[in-house]
Symmetry: C2
Subunit: 144 residues, 2 copies
Amino acid sequence: MKKKPTRVKFGYTGIRVRDLDGAIDFFTKYLGMKLRSRVKADWSKGEFANLVSKGGEHWLEINWYSDNSPIAVPFREGEELDHLGFEVDDFEGLLKKLSDAGYPTRIGPVRMGVWEVAFVQGFENIWLDIYKIRRKARKRRSKS
Amino acid sequence: MKKKPTRVKFGYTGIRVRDLDGAIDFFTKYLGMKLRSRVKADWSKGEFANLVSKGGEHWLEINWYSDNSPIAVPFREGEELDHLGFEVDDFEGLLKKLSDAGYPTRIGPVRMGVWEVAFVQGFENIWLDIYKIRRKARKRRSKS
């Protein structure tokens, strides 16, 4: 009998921040995410929060570790997390809202085909790709 | 008239690696992802690849930048990317496959309620949470 192939799914993205409350505030207030759960983890001497977008099932896990966490090294900025991508309908509106709150657009906005793209330096310098895809509108069937 | 609220969706996660070919190989061979596109970007003097899981629409963007990229600072390891989470049906099988390939389980496996969880140090030291959720099987309606 043929063996069933293993199924694997990219389920969530875990980032680490220094200020968990501030990060939850940022992603819920400006990026429209909903806080699904928040958990104090004794085993890691840390705390994490899970956030989701409406209509999206991939969640963002935001981790915070205390200085004496047995699993975390001291925080330092690095390059592995290049950026997080957020699709938006009101492109200019969101860029303005972020900019007004102190998170300016650093690259763009640029138009590439059906894409509008801008890179914003967000909370704790986490880079965001704010983008809009101009999907072709379907032709309406004319009444005749 | 009431203004429609802005809709924002967490669409993708962009990571940065030093070896793009190696990273594509890792995520397709061990984490079951499919390469959807690969793009050389003149404006960034870099290259990126987009990968998706079967049944998942949130994509993983893997970025590589040349040393003379106008938008990227030199690579250094840091803590912003805590880990990437992959849900799997064959939990033990995937951990063994990764371990055999030189990517050992560093924390766990542990059982927490319906979750089985293990942390693996993957390609270029990117941490992975390999997890399985033991969802309750639906009761079959008995024929009577």
